[in-house]
Amino acid sequence: MNFFKRTIPMIIAFVMGLLMAFQYYVPHESSQNLLKVVTRWGMIISGFAMFIGAYSLFHMHWNRIRQKVSGWGYSIFVFIGAGITIIFGLLNGGEFFWNDKQAGTMFDWIFDNVQVPAGATIFSILAFFMASAAYRTFRARNKEATILLIAAIIVMLGRVPIGTMISQYIPVVADWIMSVPNLAAKRAILIGVSIGVIATSIKIIFGIERAYLGGGD
């Protein structure tokens, strides 16, 4: 079993990892065809990953209901919401899912009148919590915190039209903060993350990093 669960996936990762790394530098037609085929495989696998994601979600909520953990009642709504949406999605306005997508179906209505306002509401709640958190915790406790606070105030005002109305220099200073210190910090983080990704990729290709294979039998 170990051969199928560990050795074969490691061989696949090694061969495909090296092959696709070299493919990037070979502009030959056969190399481009290989990329086309492999990316199509990847897209198909990603499609199945969505089913696994849905299964995992339902499995988790089913366990919550079964074990009656705190707040299990909310999990029922996951099944009700998903069930209704899936049914209307498959019905496709009476034309069923094997036909072309129909416009103005009940599925569209659910999206427009349930998912869109619910999603927007969750996002808008952030403004309230941010205002409360800023009032309670954003303190100039030391030199670094004071610099951060001043920068935050300038950027906050510089990013809305009222900043220009207060002073024409506020947006200019805000733009400088974003284009110089922010850029330097972001680039440093980006380079660090990229080197980390390269190192991890090499470790996966050569079988040093095996966490992706999972544990157990």
Partner: protein
């Protein structure tokens, strides 16, 4: 004074609610002078000739709709006004409804027809793999459009076989997918790319702008409002500038007031 620091957060919520609703009710307008990154995107699209191809990837879902949908609408107004062919797509499963609505609504305003003047390719799973596949052959990545029509031979895609043939691409994003568009799209297939993102993501774009990997950038609702100003079609984003400005000022006042109490009550010790 110290009690003010422990104020019930619902009072703060009431202030925020008033700061949003009052400017909306009284509808006071603010001028939104366009900034250089927004002008850069506008100029790029404006320089394109009739029947050029602009790809818009609507990579966001309803939670980011309030910031990104106005951007999408403003961009579509500009493209359709200039008779540019729009290729719409999304790498977010929940992005299809919003993208479809934006393209069809604005398209109808200008009398544009699906498959001829624009095409909406819909959603495909795989993120960066989809971009790579489109870079090799757009028709293998999307054999049919969102409505099930075959993409091969579609008038809206005439002259386009891969991402290399796109005149300009805009990624409207609420997540990290813009990096895939830069690395696997723009860098590999050499097309001009712009990004529209939520305000909170804005700072992440500056290294790519300086490296000229991004040509044009719209940040948050203000970016959308600036683009609306340039297009001459003030809509939701421009209307949202007044409440957003007032809320920003309110948050600044909260921070200053909080610090004032903090220091006057001797908390520093």
């Amino acid at each position: 004074m110290e009690k003010l620091l422990k104020i019930d957060r619902r009072i703060i919520f009431i202030f925020v609610a008033l700061a949003v609703t009052i400017p909306l009710l009284f509808r006071f307008k603010m001028s939104v002078p366009p900034t250089r990154h927004v002008i850069s995107m506008y100029d790029k699209i404006d320089s394109l000739s009739k029947d050029s191809h602009v790809l818009i990837s609507f990579d966001y879902d309803p939670s980011s709709k309030e910031e990104l949908q106005p951007m999408a609408r403003a961009l579509l107004h500009h493209c359709f006004k200039k008779d540019i062919k729009v290729i719409g797509m999304t790498l977010y499963p929940a992005g299809t409804g919003l993208a479809d609505k934006a393209i069809t609504e604005i398209g109808d305003e200008y009398g544009k027809r699906s498959g001829i003047d624009y095409v909406f390719l819909g959603f495909k799973a795989g993120s960066s793999l989809v971009i790579l596949n489109m870079g090799e052959d757009i028709y293998t990545a999307f054999q049919k459009d969102f409505y099930g029509k075959k993409t091969a031979g579609m008038k809206a895609l005439k002259g386009v076989s891969s991402l290399r043939d796109i005149d300009y691409a805009v990624n409207l994003t609420a997540g990290g997918i813009y990096e895939a568009w830069i690395v696997y799209g723009r860098e590999k297939y050499n097309f001009d790319l712009g990004v529209g993102c939520t305000a909170v993501m804005g700072p992440e774009m500056y290294p790519f702008i300086q490296a000229k990997q991004l040509m044009g950038f719209l940040g948050g609702l203000k970016g959308a409002a600036e683009y609306e100003t340039l297009v001459g079609h003030k809509d939701r984003a421009a209307a949202g500038m007044a409440p957003q400005s007032v809320v920003h000022v309110l948050v600044v006042c909260f921070i200053l007031f909080g610090n004032f109490i903090y220091f006057t009550t001797g908390r520093k010790k």
